[in-house]
Structure formats: C-alpha cells, structure tokens
C-alpha cells in the first residue's frame, strides 16, 4: 500500500482543504514531515489511517474528534486517498460522523459516517455498505488496522507497545499476522477428542458392571463362595472388575445348571403320568355322586309343585265370585262424573263476589281522600284571609314614607352645598388675607423707596453746589481760563463748594425716582387687588349664611365643615333607613294585591270541587254494597244444590271409587294367572326327573374297576402329593432356566464390552499423549508450550533474527534480541518474551531495562523485522510504505545517524518511508520534506519541499 495522493478537508487542524501529491516524492525513499507543534504532522498519518480503516493512527483520538474546530460550518469533513497496491490504483473517500448546519432551514444535523471505495476496474462500493468497504480494503492491503499499526504505521508514543507486551498479547497479534489459528483449532479438536474418548471408557466401565452383577448362582453350588468373592471386588471402586474371571465362572455355572435341568425334567414326566391316572378316577366318581344328588332334588321339587297346584285352584274360584261387584262400582263412578259440572257455576259466583268487594274498598278510599282535601283547603283559606287583613294598609304607608325620603334627600343636598360654600368662603378669606399682606409689603416698599428718593433728592440738591463747583474747577483746569460761576457769574471762586462723597448724580436721582414710582404703582395695584379679594370673600360668606339659615338648629359657621359633614352622615343613614322601610311597604302592598285577586278565589273553587267529589263517591259506594248482597244470595242458592262444598272434594271422592275398582280387577286376574303357571311347572318337573334317572345309570358304568378298592380319600391325598411334587419340580426348573438365561446374556455382554473397552483404552492412551503434547500439558518440568505458541515461536525467532540484523547495526554492535527460554512464571503461558543480550558486559536482561532511545531503536528494528517476516510469507501482505511518528528525538547524534542509515537502506528497496520528526539534523539530511505550517488565521497548510 503506497499512498499516491491525499486530500484532507476540515480534518484535525486543517480548516480548509489541503492536498499532498505523494507521487512527487517518488516511489521509494525517505521523506520527512516537519512543522510547528500542533501544526498537523501526525494528522497526515491519521488521515491515511482513517481513510483506510476508519480509525486514526494512535489509540488516543476517536473518529468523532476528527472534525476541525477551525473549519467553517459549511466545509465538509472528509479524507480522500488514492493509493497503489500491487500496481493497481484504488481510491477511497471517507468521512466521520459529525454535526453540521442544515442545508435548508436552521439548526444542526448530524452527517453520518460514510465511506466510498472505487476499485481499479471502476466499480464502486459505497456508503450503505460501510462494513463491506472496510472488509474489502483489509482484503486489498492484507492486514487489518491492528496489524497495520504494528508493522507499517508506528504511531507516536506507541512504538514500545509490541516490544513490551505480555506473551499472551503477542500470541494474539502473531496469530493475526501469521494466521496460526488453525493450530489452535487443532489443539482444541484434540482436546475434544480426548474428552470424548475418556468419556467412552468411563461409560463402558460402568456398563460392564451390570452384567457382572447379574451373574447368579445357586447357594449350594460349589462356585457360590467364589462368586461372592468376585462380587465383593466389584464394590471396591479402585480395582478394575476382573471381567474374565467372572465370565469363566459364569460358564461353569451355566453348564452345571444345564445338567441339573435335565434331571429335573425326567422326574417331572414320571410324576405327571401318575397324577393323570388318579385324576381321571376321581373325576368319574365325582360325577356319579353329582348325578344322584340332582335326581333327589328334582323328585322333591315335583312333590312340592303338586301340593301348590291344589291351593291355587281354590283361590281362583274364589276370585271369580267377585266379578259382579266390579260391574257395580263402574256404574257409580260414571254418575259422579256427571255431577262435577255443577261446581263450575259456584266458582263463577265466588269470583264476582271478590271483585265487588274490591270495588267497594276503592270507593271508600276515594271518599276519604276527598274529605281530607276539603278540610285542607278550608284551613288554607283561613290563613290567607288573616294575612290580607294585616297588610291592607300597606299602600298608604308606602306613600308616606316616600315623601319623607324625598325630604331627607333635599336636606342632604342642601348640606353638601353648604359645605361647598363653607369651603369657598374659607378659601376666599385666605386669599383676601394673603393679598392684604402683599399690599402691606408693597406699601412698606413704596414708603422705603419714597424716603430714599427724598433723601437722595435733598442730597442732590445739596450737592448741586459741589457739582457745579467741581465742574467749574475742572473746566478751568482744562481750558486754563477762568470760568464764570453759573450762579453768581464771578470769575473768582474763593471757596468752591466741595463735592461730598455721598453726592448723588442726576442719573442716580432719576433712577431712584423711577424706583419710587414703580414701588408706588405696585402699592396701588396691590391695594386694589386686595380690596377686590376682600369683597369676594364677603360675597362668599353671605352666600354661605343664606344657606345656613335653613338649618337654624345648628348655627353653622363657615368654619364648621366637620360638623356639616357629620350632619350629612346622619342624614344619609336616616335616609337609608327610610328607604328600607319603604321597600318592605312596597312588597306588602304587592302581596295584598295578589291575595285579593288570585289566591282567595282559587281556594274557594278548590273547596267546591272536592266537596262535589265526596258526594259522588258516597253514592257510588251504596250502589256497590247492594250489588254485593245480591251475589251472596246467589251463592247460597247454588251451594244448596251440591253435595260437596267444592269441586275438589267431589273429585277426591271419585278417585277413591276408582282405585277400589282397580284393586278388585287386579286381584281376580292374578289368581287366574297363578293357577295356570303352576300347572306348566308341574309338567316340566316330572319330565326332568325322568332324564336324570337315565344319566345316573350311565355314569355308574364309567368308574374304573382297578381302583375300586382304593378309597376315594386315599386317592385324593395321593393325587395331591403328586401335584405338590410337580409344582416343586416346576419351580426349580424355572429358577434354573432364568439364572441360565441371565448368565448367558451376561457372559456375552461381558465379552463384548471388554473387547470394546480394551480398544477404547488403547485409543485414549495415545490420544491423551498427543493432546497433552499439543496443549502444553506435559507434566511439570517441561515448558508449557502449546502447539500454536510453538509455531509462533518459530516465526517469532525468525522475526527476531531479522530484527537483530538491524538492531546490532543501530546499537553499534552492543545489543541483540533473544527469545526468553526460561519461564518467569511456570503457570503463565510463555514463549514469546524478549530479552536483550548486552555484548558490552555479556549479560542477558529483560527488554524493559532499555533506555528510551534504546527502546526506540529496539522497537524500530522489531517493527522492521516483523514487517519483513510478514511480507516474506506467502504474499498475502504487501507493505510498500511505512510511517514512523516521532521517536527520533530520543536518539543522540551517533544513534540518529545509524537509524537514518538503516531506514535509508530500507527505503531504497521499493519502500516509501515517511518520518515525522522535528530533529533539526533530519531536516538537513532528508531531501524531500512536507512542511506543515500553522496559519495565523487558524487552520494549517502543507507544502512539499524538495532539494532535488
């Protein structure tokens, strides 16, 4: 598998789409992947691994972490890889499951994981068959991801994996790489076969016990003791049953038994003959005795029958005399039947009487009901009348109350108006006061202003002189000429007035005058205004007092708002009282109307109707009673005609007569019959007697003469004895026969089973040996090495050999791999553990004791060795490229140089090797480089650099 072209989109740190044309790096040789930390170097390898297997290169990242966080939501995440395997070009495109925004509408939808594989012939294995595509890829490349990560893609931090794993884990990996599962199957099949064979032997051993136990022997037999002994051995589970001995013994017993059987048969036959003879004689004698007895019996019977005959004749004759009575009875019965019809009339009358009774009762009830209704209605009428009297006058009262209510409403209104006036009066008063104050203020101000003005005016006047003087002097100073005094016209000014400091200028004076004027204006205004307000107040007050006069009792002043309110309250409550009363009155009035108009009438009507009803019922009642009397008379009449009180009694009488008749007839019949039967019996009996006499004579002739002497009882006892003997013999024979059959069967079975058992045991022995060998269970002291492990060890040693070639070179001859022979723990499966030989001090030690850099070299050599060995196997696997992610940073200069040399020699062999490293020296030495840069805007970019 050699990558040719890869396209990575929104994957890991690559926000957009980046592509790498691997074929520009040639078909073989080393190339370097370098770049900043986090730029995305391992991601390139992740992408290759992901495109092929759906999983990234290391074991740390999960496919769902692969979508780039820097990508725009609309950029899809996928990896597209074109690779060459055995000269054919394959294309695969794969994307992980990730969330992206919907194409239509809002929100986020999950893009599911998908894969598309295009084969060289153009056929496509697409999305829905993710498993199929994955399987196909594994088939094409020849390894699955596990194996790929051990031999072709050595991920960051995981190179020590294979080196340090337990034998158990290595067995798994080796099994996958070198397909040794068949050996494991071989082991298991042998195991199964062994247990099967073992089971068979056990079963047979159990089965053989049964026939052994079945062998029987007569107690008196000479072999009995021996048999017992052997059977005791059976109980001892540790010893094997001595089947042969049993068989032999059994055969001896069998032959003995056969002999005995013969003897017994002979005596049986003799006894049988004797017995037969005796039996025959006894039978004949018996028969004779029987016949005699029977004859006697029959004769007796005949005599009896004759006697009976005479009796019966008499009885018959007596019965025949009764016949006339029979006829009489029949006549009486017929007459009585005729009379039955008369009873029907009686029944009818009875019924009518019942009906009439019922009707009478009904009528009485109805009458009573009507009476009661009348009473009730009367009472109700009385009550209604009373009520009416009471509320006659409701209407008048209502009118009175209404008036009162109106009155009160009016006064309430007045009171509220009063309250309003009081308030306005108060307000007006307040305003008037305020205005008065204002006026007073204004006045004060005006006074002040006036005074100020006056003072200032006086000053001004006073100062005129000074001013004039000053002006004069000023003018003199300015012009230098003497000026005339405006007052006196003198040119000399001996004593110019002085300007006082507090001189007031004309302007100032004017100002003050203005002020005075405005203050006075203000004052007059205010005075006017205040006057107005006062007038208003008086008006309000008058209004109030006018209205207050309506309530002379209270003497309200306009400040008594509270009292007014109180009074309003009282009036309100009074008003509501009255209103309530008014309502009741109105109701009463209505009711009275009702009663008057309707109710009284209704009740009176009702009384009338009910009384009428009552009378009707009374009439009806008397009619019915007379009817009843008539019917009773009728009944008495009918009864007198009849014999019995009722039909039933008449019927009884008839039945009695009938049964009497029957008895009589029967008796007569019986007597006649009996007589006839007996006659027949007599004739029969006499015939039988004759017969029996004949047979008796016959039988007497049959008895045996030879035995006539032997008394019957002796014969019998002889016969019995012989019988007993026969049965004894029979029993013995049976017992022997049974035993024989059992024994013969047992012997056969034993022989058969023994043969089978021997065969099976032999089989078991060699199968067990083979199975134990193959499953690593050869006792203690030998290495527990299973067949599969053994095969794997062979491969493993080869792997180590190949790895050693490189490891020795890279470590400068110091280190060498060797497979550990001595088991560290005899219980665990061993065989694939690695030790290191350090030639510099001649020791062998565990591979875990290597330093970081040394273990990198070791792991690298091991991976190369493994990859070599896998490829040299019947070419299922073709690794045309290899990827190593970091690890070179752990090496010093010398080792780095050696490692790169080894990789270089490997690379020049039709293999493309990619290294991720940021060791600076490698950048100088390796001439083809993929430089991965982290862009400032997020995301990364890949550039291919080549010095060639």
């Amino acid at each position: 598998m050699r990558p040719v072209y890869i396209e990575i989109s929104a994957f890991g740190p690559y926000a957009g789409k980046v592509c790498v044309e691997f074929d520009r790096m040639g078909e073989e040789g080393l190339f370097l992947v370098a770049g900043d930390t986090g730029a995305g170097k391992t991601t390139v390898f992740d992408a290759i691994s992901f495109a092929l297997f759906g999983l990234p290169s290391g074991n740390d990242r999960q496919p769902k972490m692969l979508r780039s966080m820097y990508a725009e939501p609309s950029v899809p995440t996928y990896v597209y890889l074109e690779f060459v395997c055995r000269g054919k070009l394959y294309k695969v495109k794969r994307n992980p499951a990730y969330d992206r925004p919907k194409l239509r509408g809002e929100g986020v939808t999950t893009e599911s994981a998908a894969v598309e594989l295009i084969l060289p012939d153009g056929s496509i294995i697409a999305n829905s068959n993710m498993d199929e595509a994955n399987k196909k890829i594994t088939e094409i490349i020849g390894v699955d991801r596990e194996q790929f990560s051990k031999i072709a893609m050595i991920a960051q931090g995981e190179f020590r994996d294979f080196l340090l794993k337990d034998s158990k884990d290595k067995i798994e990996i080796m099994r996958k790489l070198f397909r040794t599962e068949n050996y494991e199957i071989f082991q298991n099949k042998l195991k199964d076969l062994r247990s099967e064979t073992a089971r068979n032997c056990e079963d047979l051993k159990k089965t053989i016990l049964i026939p052994l136990k079945n062998i029987g022997c007569d107690e008196k037999n000479e072999y009995y003791a021996e048999l017992l002994n052997l059977k005791n051995i059976l109980d001892d589970k540790d010893k094997t049953p001595p089947a042969e001995k049993f068989a032999d013994l059994a055969e001896k017993i069998i032959s003995e038994d056969a002999k005995k059987l013969e003897e017994l048969s002979k005596s049986e036959t003799d006894a049988k003959n004797k017995m037969d003879k005796a039996e025959k004689e006894l039978e004949a004698r018996k028969n004779l005795a029987d016949a005699e007895t029977k004859l006697n019996e029959a004769e007796k019977q005949l005599t009896d029958l004759n006697k009976k005959q005479a009796e019966l004749k008499e009885k018959k004759e007596a019965a025949e005399k009764q016949k006339p009575k029979e006829t009489e009875l029949t006549g009486t019965i017929a007459t009585e039947r005729e009379k039955l019809k008369n009873y029907d009339e009686l029944d009818d009358v009875d019924e009518n009487i019942k009906k009439t009774d019922k009707k009478i009762k009904e009528c009485e009830d109805n009458k009573k009901k009507a009476e009661k209704s009348v009473e009730d209605a009367n009472e109700q009428l009385k009550a209604v009348k009373e009520e009416f009297d009471r509320i006659k006058n409701a209407g008048e009262e209502a009118a009175k109350l209404k008036n009162k209510v109106i009155e009160i409403k009016n006064s309430i209104e007045d009171l509220s108006n009063l309250k309003k006036y009081a308030k306005s009066t108060q307000d007006a008063e307040k305003i008037a006061n305020v205005e008065t104050d204002n006026y007073l203020c204004a006045k004060t101000d005006a006074d002040k202003a006036r005074e100020k003005y006056n003072i200032a005016y006086r000053n001004f006047l006073d100062a005129q002189a000074g001013i004039l003087a000053t002006q004069l002097l000023k003018a003199e100073a300015e012009t230098g000429e003497k000026q005339r005094c405006p007052v006196c016209g003198s040119l000399e000014h001996p004593h110019p007035a002085e300007l006082s400091q507090s001189a007031v200028t004309g302007e100032e004076l004017d100002e003050l005058e203005e002020k005075k004027k405005s203050a006075e204006k203000n004052e007059s205004e205010k005075s006017k205004y205040s006057g107005e307000k006062k007038a208003e107040f008086t008006k309000e007050k008058e209004k109030f007092e006018e209205l207050a006069s309506k309530f002379p009792d209270f003497a309200f002043t306009y400040n008594d708002s509270n009292l007014i309110s109180e009074e309003i309250e009282n009036k309100n409550s009074e008003k509501s009282e009255l209103e309530k009363q008014l309502k009741t009155c109105e109701n009463n009035k209505k009711r009275a109307k009702e009663i008057d108009e309707e109710e009284r009438q209704k009740l009176e009507e009702k009384i009338k109707t009910e009384t009428d009803n009552k009378n009707e019922f009374e009439n009806h009642l008397s009619g019915l009673k007379s009817h009843l009397g008539g019917l009773i008379n009728q009944k008495t009449r009918v009864l007198s005609k009849l014999d019995y009180d009722s039909k039933e009694k008449a019927k009884e009488h008839i039945n009695a007569l009938e049964s009497e008749l029957k008895k009589l007839s029967d008796a007569i019949e019986d007597a006649v019959k009996a007589y006839e039967t007996n006659k027949n019996a007599v004739s029969e009996a006499s015939g039988r007697v004759e017969e029996l006499r004949k047979s008796k004579t016959e039988l007497a002739g049959k008895c045996d003469e030879t035995l006539a002497k032997t008394a019957t009882n002796i014969l019998e006892s002889e016969k019995q004895a012989t019988e007993e003997l026969l049965s004894e013999i029979d029993e013995k024979k049976d017992k022997i026969k049974n035993r024989n059959t059992l024994n013969i069967n047992a012997v056969n079975e034993i022989r058969d089973i023994s043969v089978q058992l021997a065969k099976d045991e032999e089989e078991y022995v060699y199968i067990k040996e083979l199975c134990d060998t193959v499953n690593g269970n050869i006792g203690s002291g030998k290495d527990k090495i299973k067949l599969e492990t053994y095969v794997q060890m062979i491969y493993f040693e080869r792997v180590l050999e190949r790895a050693n070639q490189r490891f020795i070179e890279m470590s400068g001859g110091q280190y060498e791999f060797v497979r550990r022979e001595v088991l560290t723990d005899a219980r665990k499966q061993g065989g694939l553990d690695i030790n290191i030989i350090d030639h510099y001090n001649g020791t062998e030690r565990d591979v875990k004791t290597l330093s970081g850099g040394e273990s990198f070299l070791a792991s690298l050599s091991l991976a190369l060795g493994l990859s070599d060995e896998v490829q040299s196997e019947a070419g299922g696997v073709c690794i045309e490229s290899m990827f190593i992610d970091e690890g070179f940073g752990t090496l010093d200069e010398t080792s780095l140089g050696k490692a790169v040399e080894v990789l270089d020699s490997l690379a020049s062999n039709n293999t493309l090797i990619g290294i991720i490293s940021h060791v600076a020296e490698l950048k100088n030495r390796i001439e083809r480089r993929l430089i991965i840069k982290k862009e400032k805007s997020g995301g990364s970019s890949i550039e291919l650099e080549s010095d060639l």
């Binding site: 193959v774 095969v791 001859g813 001649g842 020791t843 140089g897 690379a907 030495r925 060639l948």
Partner: protein, 372 residues
C-alpha cells in the same frame, strides 16, 4: 603556483560518541607546521570545514585559531562550504575576510567571480563553487532543465564562463561518479547525487572535497584530498594526507601527498579476550574497534576492555552465533513448514520420541479437516 589542497576537516565531529576535537586540534596544528615548512602560495580548503551547520563553540574557536595561524604565514586562503556546513554561516564576513586574503565562497547566486592569483607563468583563476543542490540552481535558472546533481553542476560551470586560455582551478564539494567511499561520508538520502567527471574536465585542477579517502577520479588532476583524520573504521590501514599541488604551465601539473600522523590512530584489534587484555605492544590510547572471537560473551567485557584501552569505541563478536545472524539474508524466503512437520517436531521435542503410527494418522486426519 604551489598550493595546499585539503578538505573535510569536520571540526567538532563526534565519532561513536567520542569527540574528536582534541585530535583535530592536534592535526590542525600539524598542518600549520607543514604549511610553514612548505610555504605555498595558497591553501585551499574544499568544504566541510565544520561537521554541523551550527557548530559548537569549541569548534568555531578552533577554526578561528587555525585560520589566524594560517593567515599569519602569509599565504592566501580559499574556503568553500560543504554539505555539512551552512553556506550562509560559512560566508559570514566573507567580504571583510577577503581583505585579509581569506577568500570564502559566498552563498551561490548564479555568478562566480574567480579570484585571480599570478605567478611567473601568468594568471591562475580560482573558482570557488560551494556545495549546491539541484533545487537551488533550479530556482536561479528557471529556464534550464535541471533534473539531478549532474545538471546542477553542469549549469553552474556553464555560467562560470571559464576562459580556458588561462589556468583555472575549480574548488568544488561534490560526489563524483566512480569515487570510492570510505564509510564515514554522509550520503544524501533520497537521491542520486553523483556527477560525471567530464563536466569539469576543462579545469587545470579540480580541488574536490566530500570524499574522505584521498583519490583521483578519472584523471590525475581531478582529485579528492581526503579528510585529515580517520573518521570511520573502514579507513583503518590507510594513510591520511593533504595534497601539495604545483601548477606550472598550462598542462604542467604535479602533486605530492603530504602525510599526516594523528595524535591517536584508529585501529581494529581482533582476538580472544585473554589475548587482548594481555596485549602489551601497542598504543593504549588509540581509538580501537575490538572484535572478540570468544564463543560466548565475556561478562562485563566493555568495562574490562575500557580499563586497558580507555578510548575504545566499538565491541563486537565474531563467532558461530554472529555468523549465523549475518547469514540470514533479508529477502530469503524460508520455506514454510508443513503442519504435519510442525507437529512431528513439537512431539519429538516435548516427549523425546516420535509419534506412533496411530498418532500420526490421527494428526493427519485432523490436519486435513482443518486445513483442507
């Protein structure tokens, strides 16, 4: 015109985890001595002055001393950068240095101005071509088709516009076809870096650097001076030297190898542990690679050996086991063992006897069932 040609000083190099600085300092001193004796007109250093693009401070000060000492002798000095040097760093202060007769190649920019020296026969042009890769030249001459190192140097030489009527010396740091490597050169990874000697035939002398073994390629005047010290055990047994070249008339050229003796030599000693420990007749502080012939590892071998040879570098064994390892070739397809053979083997190993007939038959049946 007489000048000394040397190259590949690799000052600051570390070989098998031991620093060669002391030895380099010593040998540089020796070179100064020889230069003083020989009094050439120029000294040419054909690249790989340092071992790393960013050399250690000791390395820089060592070269500083060396250069100063050389310049004190009055000769002209020509330096180019090699594949280990950083072209930019080497060219640092080159313009200033040229005033002191130290001529360092600038970073290659397409044009190379030769430095002309004169002697009684006329002018000699020294062309200093630093180590270049195809990408660099491709960038500068975008129209030209440059596929590999060969084209690269060809183009560069073409653009030098060499006047073949004069005597021309090219100082270059590249790998020529048919040159024999010595094991300590760093090869370029991923490409073919060799160039054909015919490209530089027009020069009267090509002073080459890059290969650490002194040799001529294709003709006597195209020569690698080799490194002044042994840097790999593949060079054990060779003699290190610098070259004294004399150019008279156009086609008169001769050279002489000036041998250098290092402070500590690199040697390979082979023998059993006992022998080696008890050896008495050699310099104990040399750089040694020890090959032990003992069949089994000697415990603490390295420590014990270091007690005798304090500067020993490598230890390896040559015995049956190692020979077995190295005999496994990489591509050898080991025949797959048949399952029945595997079972036979494991049975015999674990039980000490072969499978019985019946067992073997059963095994074969099962194998048929499982493997088909």
């Amino acid at each position: 015109m007489r000048f000394i040609h040397m190259s590949d000083l690799h000052i600051g190099k570390i070989v098998n985890r031991l620093s060669m600085e002391e030895d380099q300092e010593y040998i540089l001193g020796k070179i100064i001595e020889k230069t003083e004796q020989l009094k050439p007109d120029a000294v040419v250093i054909a690249g790989d002055v340092y071992d790393k693009a960013s050399p250690s401070s000791k390395a820089v000060s060592m070269f500083d001393d060396f250069l100063f000492a050389l310049s004190k002798l009055g000769t002209k000095i020509f330096i180019i950068s090699g594949n280990h040097d950083s072209a930019e760093r080497t060219a640092y202060a080159s313009r200033l240095l040229s005033r002191s007769n130290v001529f360092v190649s600038p970073v290659y920019n397409g044009k190379i101005e030769p430095i002309t020296l004169s002697d009684e026969y006329g002018e000699v042009n020294f062309y200093l071509l630093p180590f270049i890769k195809p990408a660099i030249v491709r960038n500068l001459f975008k129209n030209e088709d440059i596929a590999d190192y060969n084209d690269t140097v060809k183009t560069a030489v073409a653009h030098m516009n060499v006047d073949t009527s004069k005597r021309n010396v090219l100082v270059m740091h590249q790998f020529l076809t048919d040159a024999k490597l010595s094991g300590s050169e760093e090869r370029s990874i991923g490409g073919s870096e060799n160039i054909d000697a015919s490209i530089v035939e027009m020069f009267d002398y090509v002073a080459l650097g890059h290969i650490h073994r002194a040799q001529s390629v294709s003709s006597k005047n195209i020569r690698y001076s080799g490194a002044p010290l042994k840097y790999s055990f593949d060079e054990v047994g060779t003699q290190k030297s610098i070259c004294l070249v004399e150019l008279k008339n156009k086609s008169e050229f001769s050279y002489e190898k000036i041998e250098l003796e290092p402070l500590r030599d690199m040697r390979v000693i082979r023998g059993s542990f006992e022998e080696i420990i008890n050896k008495t007749d050699d310099k104990k502080d040399d750089y040694i690679k020890i090959i032990l012939t003992d069949e089994s590892d000697i415990p603490d071998a390295a420590k014990k050996i270091r007690a005798v040879y304090p500067n020993f570098m490598l230890l390896s064994y040559d015995n049956k086991r190692t020979r077995k390892i190295s005999s496994v070739k990489k591509d050898e397809r080991i025949t797959k063992m048949e399952p029945i053979e595997v079972i036979d083997n494991i049975f015999e190993e674990q039980n000490g006897k072969k499978q019985s007939e019946k067992q073997r038959k059963l095994s074969q049946e099962l194998i048929k069932e499982i493997w088909g």
